[in-house]
């Protein structure tokens, strides 16, 4: 374990790049805070993805340049956005009707924990006693597909992929794909299948840092970017 803790993992932008490959052309996508925010920079050429934000904007563009911030043009993380063609504004009830009604095709979220059955726990750390749920539960429940993009282990080296979540849940059985700095793992609601590993990592090493049993895909391969 000692040696694995020190072993080089993929940087966050590579994780984001791998997630970006999953976004279908023409899809409507909601990106959470952290690695998910970076995904929009890596959408493969030739594909158009439309971003939704629960701040009440569809077709969000890139972040505003310094000096051009407009307090009336923000994403859900409070970051300032650029004006782009084809965007639209709406209220919070409409923003969440889009999410809960299944109109948002994919959401990419960070997480504290993901379980073997695709449960997501990303809104509250038990030790704090209080948490910010924001739009996470609606996204986890409502979006057609939930991808988790996160570090494979937490700051203390503990696995974030676990047999059962010990933190308060955001949604049950909602995650279908996990992309970490070590692996790409599919989740079918019953169990996890390791599909890809980071360069230089073996499936067995990834399993050692994972708190749930991974089925190793027969065609497991190195990260495909």
């Amino acid at each position: 374990m000692e040696s694995l803790a020190d072993k080089e993992r993929l940087p966050r932008d590579i994780v984001a790049m791998r997630v970006a490959k999953e976004l279908p052309d023409g899809s409507y996508v909601n990106l959470g805070i952290g690695i998910p925010t970076m995904v929009s920079s890596f959408v493969p050429e030739g594909r158009t993805v439309f971003y939704h934000s629960e701040s009440g904007i569809l077709n969000c563009g890139p972040l505003a340049e310094e000096g051009n911030e407009d307090i009336d043009l923000i994403n859900a993380g409070g970051q300032y956005l650029q004006i782009i063609d084809g965007m639209s504004f709406f209220d919070s009830a409409e923003a969440f009707a889009m999410i809960r009604g299944g109109h948002v095709d994919v959401t990419v979220l960070g997480s504290h924990q993901v379980s073997a059955t695709g449960d997501l726990a990303n809104w509250m750390l038990p030790q704090r006693g209080v948490g910010n749920v924001g739009g996470a539960m609606d996204l986890a429940t409502g979006a057609s597909g939930v991808i988790v993009a996160m570090e494979h282990t937490d700051r203390n080296g503990e696995p974030k992929i676990v047999q059962e979540c010990t933190f308060p849940l955001t949604g049950k059985g909602c995650v279908y794909l996990i992309v970490t700095d070590l692996a790409v793992i599919e989740c079918d609601g019953h169990g996890l299948t390791l599909k890809e590993v980071a360069p230089g990592w073996t499936p067995e090493e990834v399993q050692q840092l994972t708190g749930a049993i991974l089925a190793i895909s027969p065609d497991v391969k190195e990260f495909e970017l």
């Binding site: 934000s53 629960e54 701040s55 009440g56 904007i57 407009d70 307090i71 009336d72 043009l73 923000i74 994403n75 859900a76 993380g77 409070g78 970051q79 300032y80 956005l81 504004f89 709406f90 209220d91 919070s92 009830a93 923003a95 969440f96 009707a97 999410i99 809960r100 509250m124 750390l125 704090r128 209080v130 948490g131 910010n132 749920v133 924001g134 739009g135 996470a136 539960m137 609606d138 429940t141 409502g142 308060p168 849940l169 955001t170 949604g171 049950k172």
Partner: protein, 466 residues
Amino acid sequence: MPGNRLESSNMVLRAAQELFPGAVVALGMGLPCHLPFELPASGGVWFIADSGALGYTGQDNDGVSVDAGGSLVAMLPGGSFTGVVDVAGILRGGHTDVAILEPSQVSTKGDFVHWTTEKTAGLFAPGSAVDMAYGSSTVVAVMPHQGPGGRSNIVEKCTLPVDGAGRLDLIITDVAVIKVVASGLELIETAPGWAAEDVISITDAPLSVSSGLKELTVDIPAIVPPNKVYPSAVDALLDVPEGSVINVDGFAGPGGMAHYLMVGLRDLGVKNLQLISNTAGVARVSAFGSPNIIDHSILVENNQVVKATASYPVSPSASRPSAFEEAYNRGETDLEVVPQGTLAERLRSGGAGVAAFYTPTGVGTLLGDNKETRTIDGKDYVLETGLRADYCIIRGHKADTLGNVVYKGTSRNFNPVMATTAKVTVVEVDEIVEPGQLGPEEIITPGLFVDRIVVRPSDFSAYLDI
């Protein structure tokens, strides 16, 4: 031989006596639709049609706007358009003061049948009459007293299935005005030349005669719009009682928050407030906010807040707690955490007369605990209830003097939803304009939701001295 019967235009004009300045008046198909054609075009009341026209007149026609019956009308300055689902919310959510319908039959108990007769029995034609009857403060029927062959349209018990049970308050016919009271029907006015006995003799239901029985007139009161513009935030909030539930927006950053009204509420010092808001004040502790920006914290620090209902109640970082989190940890405030989409939907429901709804969000989580769950078509849901408030303070970009509001960009978020939920809605804007200067397709919050307007002074700073 009694006197003449009222012409239909006069029957309709009698209904105008039930209106008052600023009244929101929903008009059903048939005779009620004539009222905006009979009355001079004034902005004193809001005529609304389930076609989506809010604030129109029949004195003119713009070629593109129709009323509930499909006739062409024109929008008054400050009128606006909406969709049928939002009209239904206005009708059902208690925002309509007077609904005027033309039933085909009414009963002693105030039941009514809408646009169905023996000839078309088996077909029902509720249109929007059901929503009008179940959501409006006063429901008025305008109809001929008798149908073909002298059959009374007023009966002890409806002979056809009813579209509203016990919903009518007043019945205006071509010979009488009858009030629906707990004991039955009370005759309060008769047409010129008609004695109470004349009316009773053609009515197939018992009528009691009011001691104040008088002659029916069609005098039309002049109705001018009420003033909604207040000189300052403090003036607009002066009557907020202790313990009020207050809806206030505040998505995350500095936009969309009613800073000026928040300061007014702070200066008034009113205690024991329960805030419903997306955050409980995090702009001051967020990376994109500013440490001295005004947010909900100014009310918390002034010991005015006893509870917050929010989706994002605390600082994103535990090491930089917000004023609310500190108060919560000291046990001074209660907290209800609600997923953001559920919060938005609970507010929308509260404003649209939806008492409760089943949402999939939160099933199997801490926030779904102790709530009713239900499986509908194989999917699990939790039951959530609509939220309303005593006061709502919202932030718009511009308003006209009738209270129509437009917003700017993502600062819209919770504001239009909250504007539908409170007994008193107060809006803070950068600029107030005359009715007609905001386009009818541009208006996001129709003025019928807004009670008070204040201008955020140009020298007002959203930043505190620290």
